[in-house]
Amino acid sequence: MPESAALHSRYLSGVPAGRKNGSRIASEGKDKNPSKEPAEKQFDFSRKIRELRLELEIKKREEERIEKDIAIILEENTIDGGEQNRSFGLAVTRLNNHMLVVENSAKQLTSALKNISSLADTISGRVSALDVAKTRVVGCLQLAGDMRDLGVCAEGIDDAIRSEDFETASQHIHRFLTLDQAVFQIREFKQKDATDSIRHSYEVLSSAKERLSKILKSRLTEAVQKEDVAEMQRFVKLFPMIHESDEGLQRYSVFLNQKIDKLAEDNLKIMKAGGTDDNRRNVLYADTLFMFFEGVADIIESNLPVLEHSYGLEKLLDFMFILQARIDEFFRRLLEEFDTRRRLSHLNRLVDDILHHKKSATDHLEDSPDPLEVDAIASEICMMNTSVDMYWRFVGRRIGKNDVDLARSPSGDDDEEIDEEARLERQRLRKEAKEQKMDQLLNRSRVGTKMQELIGKYCLLEHFYMLKSVQKAIKSDAKEDVGGLTSSVVDDVVFIIRKSIRRAAGSGNVDSVCATINNATALLDTVVHNSLHHNIQAGYVTSANFASEAFTAYQQGKQVKEAAESQKEQFLLALNNSAKLSELLIELQKGLIMEWSKIKRPPVEKNKLEHSTTQIEESAKKLSSLAKHGAEELFKSAFKNKIRQGADPYQDIDRQMTMQDVEHYEAHDPFMEHFLAQIDRLLVENEPVLFPDNYKTIVLLTSSEIARQIEAAIAKCQFNRYGALQLDREYRQICAYLTNVAGWSAREKVGRLGQIVALLNVETIDEAMEVWHNSKTMTTSTTRTLTLPEVRKVLALRADFPTIAIKSIE
């Protein structure tokens, strides 16, 4: 646009006056345009203006052309100029006149546009004024409606109260109480009687509210006294309407408390009479608690909907607190009875003394608690906790289910104005407050704290039960069948521990489960571990150490042979028991994790359980290393010397062989077959008496020992090429045998020997170096490569290699 404006000014200088105006109009039109646009969007001039501008442009070009034409014509016609000049002057005057007309029209257009814009302004002003008027009217209508309602309420209230139509009356009061306060602030009304009537209504309703509140209270109290449920429910609904929820709850809870008290009384009576079922006498108190909570849940379930509807959920939690007092009282009485009848405090003291060695155990031998009795009480406490837990979950579900409602219901009116963030914040705060209240109810009420105390006692009892049972299992340990490798103690111990941990888990209290696992693993690591360790430490008797053993046995006055046999058996049993127990504990841990993975719990509790169970694994590892230690002992006394003796003749074979020797040995094995057969006999002899894990340990130890002995024998020989060839054959025999007996893991144990054999089986030292370098890249983590000095030592065994050459290798 500015470009075209510049064009105008360039071409219009020195052009007749009319043109100037034209350009002004054009620019004026352009200026007007935006200012008008907001006022009246309906009239769009921009298109028209664009057309006009286009036309102007065309006219301009035309003018240029004409001017050029004129100039040419003038030049051509200077000769007969006079005539032509005159007619030209006429034409110019005519043009000027036209221009004046155009100017006038443009002025008219401008004023017309101005007119339109001011009109538009007026219209929009009117519309906004109308808007204001409309809101005022709505407000007035509302106020009028309120006033009318007030009037209606005031008129109707007395009738309603008189005719005992309390529902209507409450509704009137509710309307009255929720009325906009503005209604009562109208004082300067022109008609005095109007304000008077409002004041009058206000007074009537205020006094009516007082009266109604009194009536409702007395009626509800009366109904509670008469135990008239229908009446009660009728009246209790009305209290929130007159904004006295607490009063209503208080009075209603009197009724429910009576019901709870009666329920408590009934249950206690049955309990004191010994219950209804003789078979369940040992869980009498847990049963009573269960029945009671069932009853309470029933009462709440049947009464809550009434309250929920008219009071909202937030009030319900307060209501639960009112009821809790009575429940607490029942629980206190139940526990008192439980404590005296089951002698819980007494038991607890004894158990505590015994577990923590506060007094020497011998003082209390006669009144040491019976593990069976403790077992029963432990179960009962767990059941009690289950009932309490069930009740809490019921409350949580009942009160906590409608979190969304909770956020919306109480003050829904002003929700619209508050933005989402503030709403969420308020919701969060409310949720937090609710959680805090729930925590208060669950964990800090008397039922909560007393139950926590009881669970603490349970943990002690469970610990005691495990200790006594495990001790008994160790004492009465017996090999069940003759062919078995392990004895009853293994299964018994796992059974006891599993039972206790499961029982704790059944109570629903995660802390008690963790404590029980802690105590169980403590037992495994001390009592159980010690008893196995003791038997393993006593050692394995063979003919080699028989003499000293026989002497001790003789001193103790036993039959020597018998004592040795029994100790041998004890040793093997302890060894196998450790390995089996370790295996079963790992299984137990996995089983528990599986079992618990199905139950929904908060993440903290899951974590706690998970980390507690790893302790079982740790105990299992300790037992497994005990078994390994035992297997090493067994190996030392029963295998090691025999292997060494068996390997002794090996070094006597002359390794400076001829081709014929090698061929001869192929048919007539000089040593290895016999040696391996000897070892095999040893292994076969022991395999049936060893638990698989232990047998495997023995086989691996045997493999290492074979390698060590053969290596030691090799070091004492001198080889030539054929001797090395024979060695290689023998190494292969060893490998084949071990792989056959124990698989690849045994092969690893003779890896070092393999390297030595390979080094010896070379033609030249250079080849040996190649073999060595190759082995470096191929060795696994378990076998170490030979070091340079070791390589030198090995190569020195080849009698045919020059010593100097061996020394110079690097």
């Binding site: 926590q452 610990h463 802390d511 010690n530």
Partner: protein, 215 residues
């Protein structure tokens, strides 16, 4: 995730309300929970810290101080690697109870456990009832491994406390590891020279076992 070098169990004990939970929360989550209500049973947290180049996982069992949870909390002593005994410097009674707690530690915990004494709430300034010197003396007399005054509110010494726990335990563990290796090496050496010194290996093994199964 699980590429840590050592995992240690740290157990916090001490009277109710001395700020055990707040210390742990400050350390693990960096927050000071105002209006923290009494812990129920045992709370559990995990945090991985670095000692040198090693990742150390701390398993923190934050026990309830109230008497009724005593039998549950007692079961945690035996397997603990470190026990942090906390008192409140602005509450004399919480300090007066320390001997009682110490008795518990001595009767249930493993003898080689790392014992740390912590005086919490030093931010309370004027309200302090137990001077630092008294706390330090108590820690010295009773052979605590470390003494520290902290504030969970303003984070004084909180990280340092747990870093110390991790560092000391890691160093101890490294020494034990080395010793085990030494035993192993000794055992193989003596056994290769065969025959006689079997009893030496036995002794080494017994020692090894008794370190493993802290009784």
């Amino acid at each position: 995730m699980e590429d840590y070098k050592y995992l240690f169990k740290v157990v916090l004990v001490g009277n109710a309300g001395v700020g055990k939970t707040c210390l742990v929360r400050k350390f693990t989550q960096g927050i000071f929970p105002p209006g923290q209500s009494a812990t129920i049973g045992v709370d559990f947290m995990i945090k991985t810290v670095k000692v040198g180049n090693d990742k150390i996982k701390l398993q923190i069992w934050d026990t309830a101080g109230q008497e009724r949870f005593r039998s549950i909390t007692q079961s945690y002593y035996r397997s603990a690697h470190a026990i942090v005994l906390v008192y409140d410097v602005s509450c004399q009674p919480s300090f007066d109870c320390l001997p009682e707690w110490l008795g518990e530690i001595e009767s249930y915990a493993n003898r080689r456990v790392l014992k740390i004494l912590v005086g919490n709430k030093v931010d309370k300034g004027d309200e302090r009832e137990v001077p630092e010197r008294i706390g330090r003396d108590f820690s010295d007399v009773n052979h605590f491994d470390y003494f520290l005054e902290t504030s969970a509110l303003d984070a004084t010494n909180v990280d340092q406390l747990f870093e110390q726990v991790a560092t000391r335990l890691t160093n101890d563990m490294k020494i034990t590891d080395e010793r085990v290796h030494q035993y192993r090496a000794d055992a193989t050496n003596t056994s290769s020279s065969s025959g006689g010194p079997i009893k030496l290996i036995d002794r080494a093994q017994t020692q090894l076992n008794s370190c493993c199964s802290r009784q």
